[in-house]
């Protein structure tokens, strides 16, 4: 952990000093133990404020959308899941690869502060860090060591690409890939009959407060102006009713079809815990079954299934 932090600071300082990049996107530490925020570093001397700890979860790639207009070259740090999102931006032609310098960070999983809290370990907590396979919780006067596996984000447990698939320089050695089955929850939902499933999603979507956090964090949501914000025509009504919530989520899921990199950020940031991962994974699973395996974000040059046509594509609606 410490070694990685040193590398991050060293590389950031080096590219700013050499002029290779005029902005570094990394993470900085907030006042509380779980607060690791995106940091925008333009001066070599500020690189000491960069951090790397188990809470550096935000994907920095979407900041490129604005920063690349004003900067010559931006250096940024990408974890495995972040790199998939970056590739999606690349496929959507929203970033110019030439203007980006990527430092890849192999990631063995990040820690969910809510799980720490639920375990009652948060009182007086100063910091958390990985140390030789254990998670060390530091308090004012003492330390507690725990097995990290029960504290990882849910999305980290099913992570299939902990090692970045795109980078200019990799910081550190590749970590082991050992994901849990990601379609397990989808499989459970598929067992329910249609009305049960409908009621299930009704319950989920009825909680939505339409804060749009899921959209804002999503690396596949990079429109200049989102259709849900448009007033002419007004696709999405303002009324706080279930039908509009459903319209929002279902439409967004379709916009994600064949493009969702399954980084899990939407579900992570949802303040009302809507299991958006299941919704997106259902589409991933269906597309895989219909049009063959496709892993969005892994090979951005490969044409996604929904914008390609093969004469052999299934067309049940024509054949019935």
């Amino acid at each position: 952990m410490k070694a990685m932090l040193q590398k991050i600071r060293k590389e950031a300082a080096s590219v700013l000093a050499s002029g290779e990049a005029d902005l570094v996107l990394g993470w900085g530490k907030g006042p509380l133990w779980w607060q690791s925020y995106p940091a925008f570093i333009e001066e070599e001397k500020e690189t000491g404020s960069l951090t790397w700890d188990p809470f550096c979860v935000p994907n920095l790639s979407k900041y490129l959308l604005e920063e690349l207009w004003v900067k010559q070259k931006v250096a940024l740090f990408l974890k495995g899941c972040d790199a998939l999102g970056f590739n999606q931006l690349l496929q959507d032609k929203r970033v110019d690869r030439e203007k980006v310098l990527i430092f890849g960070i192999p990631c063995s999983g990040l820690i969910d502060p809510q799980k720490v809290e639920r375990a009652g370990l948060h009182q007086g907590l100063h910091s958390v860090e990985h140390q030789g396979g254990e998670l060390v919780f530091s308090y004012k006067d003492d330390q507690k060591k725990e097995d990290p596996s029960s504290f990882y984000y849910d999305k980290c447990l099913t992570c299939r690409h902990p090692n970045p698939v795109v980078f200019d320089m990799m910081l550190g050695d590749a970590v082991a890939v050992n994901p849990q089955e990601r379609f397990a929850a989808v499989g459970e939902l598929e067992k329910q009959d249609v009305s049960e499933r409908y009621r299930y999603w009704e319950r989920q979507f009825s909680r939505c407060i339409r804060c749009f956090a899921c959209r804002n964090v999503c690396p596949a949501c990079s429109c200049r102006e989102c259709i849900f914000d448009l007033t002419d025509p007004r696709w999405l009504g303002k009324a706080n009713v279930l039908s509009e919530n459903q319209f929002y989520h279902i439409t967004r899921a379709f916009h994600m079809a064949g493009r969702c990199v399954d980084c899990g950020e939407c579900a992570r940031v949802c303040p009302v815990d809507i299991p958006l991962t299941s919704l997106n994974r259902k589409l991933i699973k269906d597309l895989n079954e219909l049009y063959g395996e496709y892993d969005a974000g892994v090979e951005p040059e490969k044409e996604p299934p929904l914008i390609t046509f093969n004469p052999g594509d299934p067309a049940a609606f024509l054949e019935s």
Partner: protein, 659 residues
């Protein structure tokens, strides 16, 4: 506020009997923007159209809604009506209260409610309709005919006769198609080749017809009036200019393969002319079977050719050409008989298809016109003909009737008797269908004068027994099983479109039905047009038909093509896609989904906070865009809008129909 007029059509009793149109008008008058609602027994009649024209002027209407039949029927009619009264034609909206309502409902109260919803929806859209202007574009005065059977030949001759250039493309080495393979033709028994070959020669010498044999369509781009087609002219390996057609090359060629023209019943050489009357009379080297190309040995043809016309170095030529109109006449194949094991086709040489029978009785065929059993070259005595092999068979074959089999089997029975007066024809049939001029008389002659025995029933099994074939069947009229000893069994095999018809359809952008027949634009009123403007259909590629029907349809397709080619310019449909550049993110997901290659990328420059920013956006070529809307569904930010069907208009419709 809009001034919308609603015009409700009774369509006689088609709509009026099922929908309470007084209530529809009453409700329409209360809809936002509606200032007039009126009706007529037939709105498409002169009186109905006058009502619309006069009302537009008197009520100063700025939008018109016609509640009537499908827009595919009369949208154009009412657009012209509105235009005659000075209103932009694209401000007319049709509410389909016939096909979508009165024809599919019985309950008057419910149908009336639905009709009101449909009118409300059309009013909501009409209110948001914008005037659109059609562009003019020039027409290329040249036609392409794909397939040089009798359909393609006739279409090419008819178009060429009017003075337009025609390119006639044929996949095989010679023109002529299926008709060249046939012996006699029903119901007149004139020789097929004798009536076809003069037309083949006409094509060959016609100053306006350019023949591309041994050629295939490689790619099709463009649109009505300006198709851009790439032809692949396969290497013939013979210099057409030098070849004198002497035939020494194929006499000396040592490689023999099954001849396609003879349905595999005799051998041809690797260098060959498919049949004696072939046009052009220039051989072709089948490189897959030629020793020079497979083993780099031999070269006999080159050595013996007195004109030095053999050219092993020839390569495929890609030819790009622009056309105003295309006639598709690709013809038919026979259904695959693997599924029909009970008839034993392929297991015994004396079980043959009707097409093979045609070659066996043909003077230029493998037996020189002597009808002989393929197994032992003996004359047959008893011949069993089986109708509907693969036709009218939902489970294994084709559900449709192949239409020509009843008649050609009667012809076969007659030809058999003429060749061998002591022979006997047995015909198993389901129904005998003889709807055609002099068809029934012809069939009766086969029965009464030529003694063909017709057995209504089905054949369960055909199997060899000694040097004969045993045919087990059921005569369903007497309800008795029948066992016949036959020397020859002829299967009236179902016809299908060419196996690769669907692929050609995709290239051309024309639809195929469930059996891969090309689909006409309207089954009654536009039978020779495809759904794609400028592409016309002729012959069996569109459905089973006989020679006179094929010739008539080819003439019809040619007339349509000529009408198009005679125009200097065409009006484009202004309902094309439109990019809102401020919303476009430049992801270009629209580009691969466009079937017309109408979308390209461009870089725009804009000023943001004093800074110049250059970014990618999509751009539409209005001439290429056909308004299919695929791009607008692929566009996540809603930057793609189909004019005439904008997102705003469609959402207004959805809102209105949900009220």
């Amino acid at each position: 506020m809009r001034r919308i007029g609603v015009f409700v059509c009774w369509c006689g009793t088609n709509i009026g009997a099922t929908v309470d149109l007084e209530t529809v008008m009453e409700k329409a008058r209360q809809m936002p923007g509606v200032v007039f609602a009126g009706d007529n027994k037939y709105m498409c009649s002169e009186i109905g159209q006058t009502l619309i024209r006069d009302t537009i002027v008197q009520e100063r209407l700025d939008r018109v809604v016609v509640a009537s039949c499908s827009p595919r029927m009369h949208e154009l009619t009412f657009r012209k009506t509105a235009a005659a009264a000075g209103l932009n034609p694209y401000l007319v909206e049709i509410a389909n209260i016939r096909e979508h309502c009165s024809w599919v409902h019985k309950d008057k109260a419910e149908a009336t409610q639905k009709a009101i919803s449909l009118v409300r929806t059309a009013v909501a859209k009409a209110a948001r309709n914008k005037p659109l202007q059609a562009d003019q574009f020039a027409v290329t005065h040249r036609a392409l005919v794909i397939g040089a059977g009798i359909a393609g030949i006739q279409a090419a001759l008819d178009i060429g006769e009017t003075g337009f250039e025609v390119d006639l493309v044929e996949r095989t080495p010679s023109i002529g198609g299926r008709m060249a393979q046939l012996d006699k033709t029903f119901p007149t028994l004139d020789c097929s080749a004798c009536i076809l070959t003069p037309k083949m020669v006409d094509v060959a010498v016609h100053p306006k017809i350019n023949l591309y044999t041994y050629s295939e369509i490689e790619a099709v781009e463009g649109y009505v009036g300006n198709f851009e087609v790439t032809l692949r002219q396969k290497a013939r390996s013979i210099d057409k200019e030098k070849c004198t057609g002497c035939g020494i090359c194929y006499e000396k060629c040592p490689s023999k393969v099954d001849g396609e023209f003879e349905e595999g019943m005799s051998k041809r050489k690797a260098i060959y002319v498919p049949f004696p009357q072939a046009v052009p009379n220039v051989p072709v080297i089948d490189r897959e079977n030629c020793r020079w190309f497979t083993k780099e040995k031999c070269g006999v043809c080159k050595k013996v050719c007195p004109a030095d016309a053999v050219d092993f170095e020839q390569s495929d030529q890609l030819i790009k050409q622009k056309y105003g109109a295309i006639v598709v006449a690709t013809g038919f194949d026979l259904v695959d008989l693997d599924e029909f094991g009970e008839f034993g086709y392929g297991k015994h040489p004396d079980i043959i298809t009707s097409m093979e029978f045609e070659r066996l009785v043909n003077a230029s065929g493998p037996t020189g016109g002597k009808l002989l059993r393929p197994s032992n070259q003996e004359p047959p005595r008893n011949v069993v003909f089986i109708h509907c092999v693969g036709s009218r068979d939902k489970s294994r074959g084709k559900p449709y009737c192949s239409k020509i089999c009843c008649m050609y089997t009667a012809k076969h029975a007659i030809l058999l008797k003429e060749k061998y007066p002591k022979s006997q024809a047995y015909v198993f049939y389901i129904d005998v269908r003889t709807a055609g001029k002099e068809f029934e008389e012809f069939h009766r002659r086969a029965v009464e004068e030529y003694g063909a025995a017709y057995l209504r029933g089905i054949v369960g099994k055909v199997f060899p027994s000694g040097d004969k074939l045993l045919v087990n069947g059921v005569d369903t009229l007497s309800n008795q099983t029948v066992e016949l000893e036959a020397d020859l069994v002829v299967l009236a095999t179902a016809i299908t479109p060419r196996r690769d018809a669907a692929a050609l359809g995709r290239m051309l952008g024309i639809g195929t039905d469930g059996h891969n027949y090309f689909v006409e634009a309207h089954p009654k009123l536009r039978p020779v047009e495809s759904h794609t403007a400028g592409i016309f259909l002729a012959g069996t590629c569109q459905g089973p038909r006989d020679i006179p029907e094929t010739v008539a349809q080819a003439g019809g397709a040619a007339a349509k093509a000529i009408a198009l080619l005679s125009k200097e310019t065409l009006l484009s449909d202004p309902c094309v896609s439109n990019v809102n550049e401020s919303l476009c993110t430049g992801c270009l997901a629209c580009l691969p989904v466009c079937p017309y290659k109408a979308i390209s990328e461009k870089t725009i420059t804009e000023k943001v906070h004093g800074q110049e920013r250059r970014r990618l956006v999509a751009e539409i070529n209005n001439a290429l865009c056909q308004g299919c809307g695929a791009c607008s569904t692929a566009c996540r930010p809603g930057a793609m809008n189909l004019l005439g069907f904008t997102n705003e208009q469609l959402l207004a419709e959805v809102d209105a129909i949900c009220l």
